[in-house]
């Protein structure tokens, strides 16, 4: 399912580089993701996995890498092999 996360990043993260060239722990903000794009991505993840991130998870760190997103989803009960 990390493929699903990568596809959402491709569709909503507006990265200037191909996400498939990034390691799963690569910093997406360092790779050029804007805060506006991160909000788009966060809302797309909520829709796709049918979850809602609680306030305590609305931090920059939760969306900073594929691994971080997978870990956050796992915490919400969505199993994403990493």
């Amino acid at each position: 399912m990390t493929d699903e996360i990568r596809q959402l990043i491709k569709d909503f993260g507006r990265l200037p580089v191909d996400v498939d060239t990034l390691a799963s722990n690569a910093d997406l903000y360092q790779a050029g993701m804007s805060s506006h794009a991160s909000v788009n991505l966060m809302l797309a993840i909520e829709d796709h996995f049918d979850v809602e991130f609680p306030d305590r998870m609305l931090t920059r760190g939760v969306f900073e890498s594929v691994d971080a997103i997978a870990a956050a989803l796992a915490e919400l009960g969505i199993k994403v092999p990493v």
Binding site: P16, D27, A31, L43, T59, R60
Partner: protein, 243 residues
């Protein structure tokens, strides 16, 4: 340096980044800037402006980041420095500094809004402003509202939770107030900037657009300090200003 209101400095990034600029940046130890170019320029310009504004040498600037990701600066004795905020888009870099209070700046290229973002971030009256528009006009208005919202969230230091949990109305125009913050908004080639500040008096900011070549020249001596860019990189890496 005596100033009444905040200072906002804007610079437009070259597109594409020229070979000469790449060589110059590599010579300063930045490596190949790649997609981090805007971020690096924003940080270098921030350090330069803080040095000039505050009258402290670059090596004396000690950066830290709050738990919510808001950066601040002190000198080696722990004396608090000016409030500052930085932002970059694919085309523009913005840095804001103020002697007192707290502030947030944002810059963003015009963008087509995602209906989910409109629904989650903006109050009903602002959503109605957007719903009455279409196409380019809607994109421009969305970018105006977004940059103001983000500038206020940065100034407030609460970041994403504030943006995503019931943002109260912003309203139309290029100047206004939101909660305890005054905000200003301006148009750029291909985008908009916004500043939010709670400084006493709400004085208008001085807005200055510098040619990129001038920014490079101003940051010429930054590599002279052994700590650069590691200290600034590490201290601001997590935040880029709270968001």
């Amino acid at each position: 340096m005596t100033r009444v209101g905040p200072l906002v400095v804007l610079t437009r990034l070259p597109d594409p980044v020229s070979d000469a600029a790449r060589v110059e940046l590599q010579q300063r130890g930045w490596g190949d800037p790649g997609s981090r170019f805007g971020s690096l320029v924003a940080r270098a310009l921030t350090a330069d402006l803080l040095t000039q504004w505050w009258g402290r040498p670059r090596a004396a600037l000690q950066f830290s980041v709050s738990a919510a990701g808001k950066p601040s600066v002190t000198d080696r004795d722990g004396a608090p420095g000016p409030a500052f905020s930085l932002s970059h888009s694919d085309t523009w870099v913005a840095v804001a500094i103020a002697a007192d209070g707290t502030l947030g700046v944002d810059v963003q290229s015009f963008t087509t809004p995602d209906p989910r973002v409109i629904r989650r971030v903006f109050a009903q009256s602002d959503r109605e402003l957007l719903d009455a528009l279409a196409g380019e006009a809607q994109s421009h208005e969305f970018t105006r509202l977004w940059t103001i919202a983000e500038a206020c969230a940065k100034a407030d230091g609460t970041g994403l939770p504030l943006l995503l949990r019931g943002f109260s109305p912003i309203g139309p125009g290029c100047r206004g107030s939101w909660q305890r913050y005054s905000w200003w908004s301006g148009e750029l080639a291909g985008g908009r900037w916004a500043l939010a500040s709670d400084a006493a008096g709400g004085s208008d900011p001085e807005v200055c657009e510098l040619p990129f070549e001038s920014v490079l020249a101003r940051t010429q001596d930054l590599r002279a300090t052994a700590a650069y860019p590691v200290t600034l990189e590490e201290s601001i890496r997590r935040s880029d200003d709270a968001l």
